[in-house]
Symmetry: C2
Subunit: 350 residues, 2 copies
DNA sequence: CTGAAAGCGCTTACAG
DNA sequence: CTGAAAGCGCTTACAG
């Protein structure tokens, strides 16, 4: 059904070699010849057979994106960002979702990627030593989104500093008892490796340097989801010491936390301030003060890194850093004087 | 660097043909020979070169998923569902995000898909006649998620019936003035084709058959996002007639609407009931009554359809229907008696 | 600037 | 059950 190179050659009255060269715009073909060939190709609706050219060139024209799942906000954004850059460069994207531990094992152990892509982009996965080795054995450029092995280019965000700035905002507002809702990745492959530790470190650093003491009861970890955030906030507001402000390590967790506060009659920000992390699409809708990390831009940057490595195979791996910024909305305010807080609490208990 | 078929053949002391047959588990190879070949392949770490086999067989071992963007909840779910089924069948997924109108044009007009995949899965796109024709000319099975041309298999949801059931719930609760927040896709390619019209039709059918009259002021369309939902709800509560309940055509719109109600001091469900559509991950968190449409399952079903078409090329296109169900949460309740409503409104205005 | 030929790494009738 | 040979549709030195 599809026309072949030879048909175009016959129609244009040249050899297949010339057709090949003319159509790919490689230099060394007379302008008139090139035009004649292109016209002939258009007439028969010729489309180059990718399998043929891949075999001949050894290039697949494809970049693999490896991701825990496409079904979560963060990864959807990252895929979209990286995908746009990749397609902009004329390459295809092959999407590998790990799904679960078995899927992860399968992809890495069984050479699932071998020969299928010219480069691979790993999004937010804590790569094990053996996984890193398997990726290296692929013999193609690899870039990662998030902290990765030194042998790969990477795109990072300074999570600790970003968390510190969020905390400082709370501290400058006058808060003296600040809780943390942190991410506990557990063994869930789909949760990726949103650097939870760096954000906790930022919380602790800011709290300590403000002269406040760290209290384990004020640090509640849970799974990175609205439900996890709700559970963590429930523990905070029923714990031994009630914070006047909370830093949540992700917006999704903050959303769940906000809901618990609302159900409990605890007003935001009057009775409790809350800051998230992400600047998720819904953060603006619920007026959540949050740390913006432009995930789309991170995906784009990662794709550019891998494209650069493809263009310049010898180059050393580089690390690109995407800036974050605090977005102030209406979920943060100075703490209320104690009396008003108690009154508000009484009202709630009616 | 990678070992070739011939190396394995030499090592196992057989011909390349036999290696090829043995490794792919095609019948007609002596058991002992097969084992010897597999052992030799394992020893040299042989991995079949996909370009070579693709050219020889004409099969790519790949299914293309065409989607407006991976950066929206609905499509992330659908990609994950379809992807799991496709990978389960041992095939790769090639992801084509349209991005914008230009990207859409490029993919369809420039034979972007030709020869790259054994089948294509189109997720929620209103295909034009020429796009349909171009897909047919690909000569591979095509399946769509959502309403599509009769020549392709499709997975649908009965949007009208689902909307009607949501409305009936509101009507049975005693609501007599019910607003609609509908989806206005406009010209945004990334919004896909969530069948907005069918949901509006369901709203109208239920309202009419309950003996209530349709009022254009009660139908507010906007873009399918939290911001759009917020804008539409703002118009509803500042319009000539104040509804006691609202049906939102998507959960994202409902989230925005809920936020506006909260800001306005209109209590849900005491002063206003609201039903969404999707059963988005966050719906449970905000206690939103909604129509569950299992998008993951829709993606899986679409992938199964395309796999079936691949296995049985002659078969006629089929349509699979994924059931929806109303999930009752705490955003719906009977309307308050008029007096209490007025009191509540007064309080708000203080 | 152009063409004939070899080759990319497999698979598959065909023959034995 | 096994092997030699042709072929899948391109690209690319090489020669002219």
């Amino acid at each position: 059904m599809a026309a072949s190179l030879d048909e175009v050659a016959a129609r244009a009255g040249v050899s297949a070699s010339t057709v090949s060269r003319a159509l790919r715009d490689v230099p060394g073909v007379a302008l008139r010849t090139r035009e004649r060939v292109k016209a002939a190709a258009a007439e028969v609706g010729y489309v180059s057979n990718v399998s043929g050219s891949r075999l001949a060139t050894g290039k697949t024209g494809t970049i693999a994106i490896v991701v825990p799942t496409a079904a979560r906000w963060f990864f959807g954004q990252a895929i979209a960002g990286a995908g746009a850059v990749i397609r902009g460069a004329g390459l295809d994207v092959l999407l590998y979702e790990l799904g679960d531990a078995a899927g992860r094992q399968r992809l890495f152990a069984e050479h699932g990627l071998r020969g299928r892509a010219d480069a691979v982009l790993v999004l937010s996965l804590n790569l094990s030593g053996s996984e890193t080795r398997l990726l290296q054995q692929l013999g193609v450029p690899v870039a990662v989104l998030g902290v990765g092995p030194a042998s790969f280019s990477s795109v990072v965000v300074n999570d600790q500093l970003a968390a510190e700035s969020a905390l400082r905002h709370l501290i400058n507002l006058g808060h003296e008892v600040i809780g943390l809702i942190g991410i506990d990745n557990g063994s869930d492959v789909t949760s990726g490796s949103v650097p939870p530790i760096a954000r906790v470190a930022g919380y602790r650093a800011a709290v300590s340097s403000a002269g406040m003491s760290l209290d384990p009861d004020l640090e509640q970890l849970d799974e990175n989801s609205a439900a996890g955030g709700a559970a963590a906030m429930t523990r905070l507001i029923s714990g031994p010491v009630m914070p006047t402000a909370v830093f949540a390590s992700s917006d999704e967790m903050a959303f769940g936390a906000l809901h618990v506060l609302r159900s409990a009659g605890i007003r935001v920000p009057a009775d409790m301030s809350i800051v998230g992390f992400d600047n998720h699409d819904f953060a603006a809708v619920v007026d959540l003060t949050t740390v913006d990390q432009n995930v789309l831009a991170q995906g784009q940057a990662a794709a550019r890194l891998v494209l650069a490595a493809l263009a310049n195979p010898g180059a050393a791996p580089t690390t690109a850093s995407v800036p974050t910024r605090l977005v102030i909305r209406r979920s943060t305010a100075p703490p209320q004087p104690l009396r008003r807080r108690l009154e508000a609490t009484d009202t709630t208990q009616n």
